[in-house]
């Protein structure tokens, strides 16, 4: 799998051509903007740009589309941090600590940290791409239906374990999510389930509509209901740069989450949502100050941001090495480059190696551009917090509807959006954790289909879930993640009885 330095340098050279630099800049900026707006994701943006790419050189087209893709990863977390309204599955984990930080008047730092973490995660992934693209693509192939099923079970168990002390509500939330994910055509039998004769529901409820509904519309409604309550002091933005201490606690989480996100990104279909959630839960469990997570721990922003950006680079590996798109966005990219006469497939590296390496070079440059863009935008973005509620929330409300419409061009989705807005409101009032529900919707139907495919291929034997090393590792991780909260609790209790003096650390 020769990474010879010369071709790599050639690639960088092509990426440095003024036109290509311009495409990276345009793509990155556009990606950041669509990432910020609820519902408008990279897949939509790339699809809309397809006609523009028709006349372009395939390399430039690929550079532009990839820049939109990872640009959206940068942008996606902006609204998560500032407004608690993630625009995509991969930006949900950024709300956990990003929004509390913002409420505590540390929005500037949260945004800066997320940009830095994204950069480092992205760079780690680009380096990983250069050296590991082929072996990783081979590794990803080992994931059969059984392994995918177990990976999703692991992710869900990790999310539920987040709602420690509130497990019952966590499980209820997850179960509702799983129920929702059964709506639509059942692939294995072709039977329509719970579609109530509405053809728009035949492919299931789009999880993005649920995300926008519960988070964005829910947030708007919540603010409407609590409008009479005193808001307290005007939130300040705080410092716009991170402190040394913050860097210290975030350094390792970022460096660990980058490779983790990259690996998960390589698996076709897993993607940024799973990557960012798993990196968050992992870091929380490894952390010495677990109790700070969810209350504005800066490393809780850093870890998932590093992971989801790395995952977006990883997702390009199956596309470029095997011609297999690993996510919605890469599927659209595939269609676009085929139109330009490039056949992505196992031979792409041999036939169009220069194109692949130019892309790698452009991703390197693009990530640096994006940090600059995001840091420059920081001052502007935090102004959102100064916007009076009576202007801000109606705008979010309108954007939610526009974003929803661009997903499937369907009016039915508006009703679903409003319905989940009310659900989101209720969940906020009764303090149900939202993430388990959303994640269950995202992975639920894949999880079920993979479970059933596993059983068809093993002729009904459950043994298939213990057959491969990957499965066994995933099973152990799942058990650990469920039992971990209880184990730590036990240890803490023991420690407490040991030093009766108590400790002075923050509670």
């Amino acid at each position: 799998m020769g990474v010879d330095i010369q071709t790599l340098m050639e690639g960088f050279k092509t990426a440095m051509q003024p036109m290509n630099l311009l495409w990276v800049l345009v793509g990155g900026f556009l990606g950041t903007v669509v990432g910020m707006l609820p519902g408008l994701g990279p897949a939509t943006a790339v699809a809309v740009l397809i006609p523009i790419t028709f006349g372009m050189d395939p390399t430039s087209a690929l550079i532009l589309m990839a820049a939109i893709y990872y640009g959206a990863m940068y942008g996606g977390s902006r609204s998560s941090i500032l407004l608690n309204t993630p625009g995509d599955g991969s930006a949900i984990a950024a709300t956990f600590d990003g929004y509390p930080m913002s409420q505590q008047g540390r929005a500037g730092q949260a945004l800066a940290m997320s940009a830095i973490a994204s950069l480092i995660g992205g760079v780690i992934a680009v380096i990983g791409f250069i050296f590991l693209a082929k072996p990783l693509a081979e590794f990803a192939l080992q994931f059969g239906p059984a392994e995918y099923f177990l990976l999703m079970v692991f992710t869900l168990s990790a999310i539920v374990s987040l709602s420690k002390g509130n497990m019952v509500k966590g499980f209820i939330s997850m179960s509702v999510g799983l129920l929702l994910s059964t709506v639509g055509v059942d692939l294995q039998s072709g039977v329509y389930r719970f579609t109530m004769g509405i053809p728009q529901l035949s492919e299931g409820i789009d999880f993005l509509v649920i995300i926008i509904g519960i988070y964005a519309v829910g947030e708007v409604l919540y603010n409407l209901v609590s409008i009479d309550k005193p808001k307290g002091d005007k939130k300040s933005v705080g410092k716009k740069w991170i402190t040394k201490d913050q860097w210290k606690v975030s350094k390792w989480p970022i460096l660990r989450s980058g490779p983790l996100g990259f690996l998960i990104g390589v698996l076709p279909g897993a993607g940024g949502s799973i990557a960012s959630m798993l990196s968050y839960t992992t870091e929380r469990q490894l952390s010495k100050r677990q109790d700070q997570f969810g209350k504005g721990a800066v490393e809780g922003v850093a870890a998932p941001e590093s992971a989801n950006n790395a995952a977006s680079v990883g997702a390009l590996i199956p596309l470029l090495t095997m011609g297999i798109p690993g996510s919605g966005t890469t599927a659209v990219m595939l269609g676009a480059i085929i139109m330009l006469g490039v056949q992505p497939g196992p031979l792409l590296f041999q036939h169009n190696g220069d194109m692949v390496w130019s892309l790698v070079g452009s991703m390197f440059i693009g990530n640096i551009f994006l940090v600059l863009i995001n840091i420059l935008l920081l001052g502007l973005l935090v102004k959102i917090l100064d916007t009076p509620a009576k202007i801000l929330y109606p705008v979010i409300f309108v954007l939610s509807f526009i974003g929803t419409y661009t997903l499937n061009y369907s009016i039915i989705d508006f009703y679903i959006l409003l319905l989940f807005g009310v659900v989101g409101l209720a969940m906020k009032i009764y303090k149900f954790p939202i993430a388990p529900l959303i994640l269950a919707v995202i992975v639920g139907s894949d999880m079920e289909q993979n479970f059933r495919k596993s059983l068809v291929s093993s002729d009904g034997s459950l043994g298939i879930f213990f057959e491969s090393t990957v499965s066994v590792v995933l099973l152990i991780l799942t058990i650990l993640s469920i039992s971990y909260p209880f184990i730590t609790e036990m240890i803490q209790k023991r420690r407490k009885t040991q030093d009766t003096a108590g400790n002075h650390h923050e509670l």
């Binding site: 408008l40 035949s202 011609g323 139109m339 502007l380 495919k453």
Partner: protein, 328 residues
């Protein structure tokens, strides 16, 4: 500052959504077309329908075959149902891409609509279906595959995407049925996309996969998978060493075609308009280049041939769906 930000966001949004909007001017009624045209791709961007609609728009407009502006609108859902329901209510300035799903959705009991609810205008392209196996498979040719399935239909796991009743699935059923396999007992694993089927095959998670030739070809060229048979009449360009089903004693030809149709009750003149324009389109170099890039083959049939063809196809699919055990 914040106003500027909001303004900028809204501007971007408008720019992004503008491509989806449709502008219409007054209906003159004198000559067709009298306003902008609309192409419905009844699926999300990225798939074959979307690619066909966008390619048509590009060639018809770029080559100045049609002067009126054309917009592609995506109406995904229900394997075409959403887009076609929409088409049924439009005037003749809206057309839609179709495929065999316009027949099978109805035969499978998923839809009330059939091809008779619309005005067939043309069949444009076809792809052919391939049966692929992993490189290290013990099965060496299509006959061995069928022999084994005849003996034990459940002995091989077959990957298909994205749903039962589509051409990838039914072409395999047709081949197996022709050979005398009990097709109701076959074990299909249904994957979400063609890409997932390829990964499953490369990873050795399934024994056989049925998919369009274009999806299998690149993997075959890279020596990652073997192709046992193609569903075309004759061997295909670029895959001259792959025998057809016919050569291997399974008498069937199975095209995976895509065509164009309009809303119900289009007039003679309107149909004639599209016969002329679409024929012209299929003769351009730009169109031929797009076909080549996408591994599609020209399969052009004008409106009257299309009508006849659809009738034959419906009989064929009706029989197939019944025998496959998909519909009671």
């Amino acid at each position: 500052m914040k106003k500027l930000l909001i303004f900028l966001s809204i501007l971007t949004l408008m720019a992004l959504t503008a491509c989806g909007s449709q502008s219409s001017s007054g209906d003159g009624g004198e000559s067709y077309p009298s306003k902008d045209l609309e192409f419905v791709a009844p699926a999300s961007p990225g798939g074959g329908w979307d690619a066909t609609a966008r390619a048509m728009k590009k060639v018809l407009n770029d080559e100045k075959i049609v002067e009126e502006n054309m917009n592609v609108v995506n109406k995904p859902g229900g394997s075409g149902e959403v887009g076609w329901k929409y088409l049924k209510k439009q005037d003749p300035h809206t057309l839609s891409v179709n495929s065999s799903l316009v027949l099978t959705n109805n035969l499978l009991g998923k839809s009330q609509l059939t091809y008779k609810d619309f005005t067939p205008l043309a069949i444009l392209t076809t792809e052919w279906e391939a049966v692929a196996i992993p490189k290290d498979s013990s099965i060496k040719n299509a006959e061995a595959l069928m022999k084994q399935l005849k003996k034990d239909p459940k002995s091989l796991k077959i990957a298909v995407a994205p749903g039962l009743g589509n051409d990838d699935h039914l072409s395999f059923v047709q081949a197996a049925k022709t050979y005398g396999v009990d097709v109701t007992k076959l074990d299909f694993l249904v994957y979400e996309s063609g890409g997932d089927v390829v990964s499953a095959l490369l990873g050795g998670h399934v024994d056989v996969a049925t998919m369009s030739v274009s999806e299998a070809k690149q993997q075959y060229k890279a020596d990652k998978v073997d192709i046992l048979a193609v569903s075309s009449e004759e061997r295909l360009d670029g895959l001259e060493d792959i025998p057809t089903w016919k050569e291997q004693g399974v008498d069937m030809v199975f095209p995976h075609w895509r065509g164009v149709m309009g809303p119900p009750d289009m007039t003679e003149e309107e149909i004639a308009y599209w016969d002329e324009k679409l024929k012209k389109m299929t003769e351009t170099d730009a169109w031929k280049k797009i076909l080549k890039n996408n591994e599609w083959q020209s399969f052009y049939k004008d409106s009257s041939e299309t009508k006849k063809f659809l009738k034959e196809q419906e009989e064929m699919y009706s029989d197939l769906v019944k025998k496959s055990g998909l519909a009671e």
